[in-house]
């Protein structure tokens, strides 16, 4: 590595750090992201300049990759953001696996330290890549979001892991004659990535995607150890750390431990006793009647969930909120940290619809004022408003901080059917005496309410 290249890498690493720091503050985040892209450009240029060989192939690869990435980023709908991030995690981690493989292929003789780095890059990168694909399939509901369980699941996964460790030991000790071991490890970790995510329910995907995000960074750092490049190590470590912090925040918002998320098959069984303590019948309401209640309301809280994303109802919701405010009603949006399918999912959708940041409140701030709320409108959210999380110690959700919409004077629940939520847990909120159900597509329902307001005004 030339001195000039080293200097370029140091500058790149510094800009990455500054960019990341700016990304954690709303007013500087966009600049921070752009700075980070500049850092990436510097690192890539410095590498290109000194690589020299096969430049036409490398540039070709960059052009193809950039075209695909740009196409995906420009075309993606904001509601599909979790799926895209899952897929991007997959491509990045698979790239780290290939780098490790190619570097080993080039030399075949590697020092033990490098050998360990190869194994780590291949294992983390390989698992994260297929795990991302399964997460993508679950998020886009191409396969069931329900946990997929089969007998001896833990035992099978543990056996594969032990096999990987044994092969890794062989590989590190006899690197020159162990090409076969590396290939076996690659195959095993790809399978293991699939098996690890299958038993995790769709509602836990925000945690899984955060964890994969962290892994992708660690795989890049491991690749950095193989080629002795500090900029990979610094950038990879930063991503690994930030992904872990996000994972931790998500676990806290669900009051669950990471081990519980990964290994419990949460939501596979319908909560026992949930069906037995039948409190009453759900009470449907027409949009005309709902309009009268809203028209008279002084204080409204909207609780969006994944259903709002599915129905792409965010713009309609914003229109309704504007009409309510014109009518003198105070409107707030209560955002649960794990609402939706990735961290901050609802914030992105509401920002797209131009909802003011000041109108967004967190559960801890809105709950104490819930008694004075006239109408709480739950749009496609379910588990984050389930009162069992507070009251029923036998519920799988018990202990998870929720938004106490059941304490509002009236609750409207917009829902497609009486099906339980992603976690598969019954929700007694739907049959509470102060709850009214508005069945149907969330967007159509909101637009009907908007229509009522407009008819009344004209």
């Amino acid at each position: 590595m030339s001195d000039l290249a080293t200097l370029a890498y140091i500058i790149s690493a510094i800009i990455f750090v500054i960019g990341l720091r700016m990304l954690t503050n709303a007013s500087t985040a966009r600049r921070g992201n752009q700075l980070s892209a500049v850092a990436m450009l510097i690192a890539v240029l410095a590498t290109l300049v000194q690589s020299g060989m096969k430049l036409e192939w490398i540039l070709g690869g960059i052009i193809v990759g950039a075209a695909i990435g740009a196409y995906a980023a420009i075309r993606v709908k904001m509601t599909e953001m979790p799926e895209l991030v899952a897929l991007l995690n997959g491509t990045g981690s698979l790239a780290s696996l290939l780098v490790a493989w190619a570097e080993y292929h080039a030399s075949l003789v590697v020092a033990p330290f490098t050998g360990i780095a190869v194994i780590i890059a291949v294992t983390i990168g390989g698992m994260a890549s297929t795990a991302s694909v399964v997460a993508f399939l679950k998020l886009s509901e191409r396969i069931s979001g329900r946990p997929i369980l089969y007998p001896n699941q833990q035992l099978i996964n543990a056996s594969i892991l032990v096999a990987v460790l044994l092969l890794a030991a062989v590989f590190v000790i006899f690197p020159a004659s162990s090409y076969w071991a590396l290939i076996l490890i690659i195959l095993l970790v790809l399978v293991l990535g699939v098996l690890a995510v299958l038993p995790i329910g769709g509602a836990d995907m925000p945690i899984v995607v955060s964890l994969i995000n962290s892994s992708t960074g660690l795989a890049a750092a491991a690749a950095g150890f193989i080629i002795s490049n500090p900029v990979l190590i610094v950038a990879g470590a930063l991503v690994g750390a930030s992904g872990l912090i996000l994972t931790q925040i998500m676990c806290k918002s669900m009051n669950r431990s990471l081990g519980n998320v990964l290994f419990s098959g949460f939501g596979a069984e319908v909560a026992a006793g949930g069906a037995a303590k039948d409190a009453g019948e759900p009470q449907p309401i027409t949009s005309a009647d709902a309009y009268y209640l809203l028209e008279a309301a002084r204080n409204v809280v909207v609780v969006p969930g994944y259903g709002m994303a599915v129905a792409q109802a965010q713009h309609a919701v914003k229109e309704l909120a504007d009409l309510l405010e014109e009518n003198g009603t105070e409107v707030r949006f209560a955002i649960h940290p794990v609402a939706g399918r990735m961290p901050g999912h609802m914030n992105v959708l509401l920002a797209e619809a131009n909802v003011a940041y000041e109108q967004l409140v967190e559960p801890g701030d809105v709950n104490p004022t819930m008694e004075s709320v006239d109408v709480a409108i739950v749009i496609g959210a379910n588990d984050v408003v389930n009162p069992d999380a507070r009251e029923d110690s036998s519920s799988p959700l018990y202990g998870m901080p929720i938004i106490n919409t059941d304490h509002a004077r009236t609750v409207f629940v917009l829902k497609r059917s009486m099906k339980p939520g992603f976690a598969g847990v019954e929700n007694p909120l739907f049959v509470k005496p102060n709850t009214r159900m508005l069945f149907g597509d969330a967007k159509a329902t909101i637009l009907a309410l908007v229509g009522e307001f407009k008819d009344a005004a004209s």
Binding site: A29, S93, N213, G344
Partner: protein, 91 residues
């Protein structure tokens, strides 16, 4: 071993940097750091340049995948943050 030292310090720096994040920024932070993890493209370029035919195939494939990650990640993060920003200008 010196590299391990770099790794530990950088990870520590990461934890310190990202301690408090407003929940509004969770998604952009995730997709932004996701783009950063595409830094593996640097390793991919090195691998593509160094190896024989098969090594180059692996390397170029890694370049394509990592570049998708980099370009897709940065662009989509920018798109999101632009939405957050435009809202402020309006006021």
């Amino acid at each position: 071993m010196l590299l391990l030292f770099v790794f530990v310090l950088a990870a520590f720096l990461g934890f310190e940097l990202i301690n408090k994040i407003p929940s509004q920024l969770h998604t952009p932070l995730m997709s932004g750091t996701n783009a950063i993890s595409g830094i593996t493209v640097v390793g991919a370029i090195a691998a593509a340049a160094a190896g024989g035919t098969f090594g180059t195939v692996l390397g170029v494939l890694a370049v394509v995948l990592a570049t998708i990650n980099v370009v897709g990640g940065y662009l989509v993060t920018d798109r999101m943050l632009e939405m957050f920003g435009s809202k402020k200008e309006r006021k």
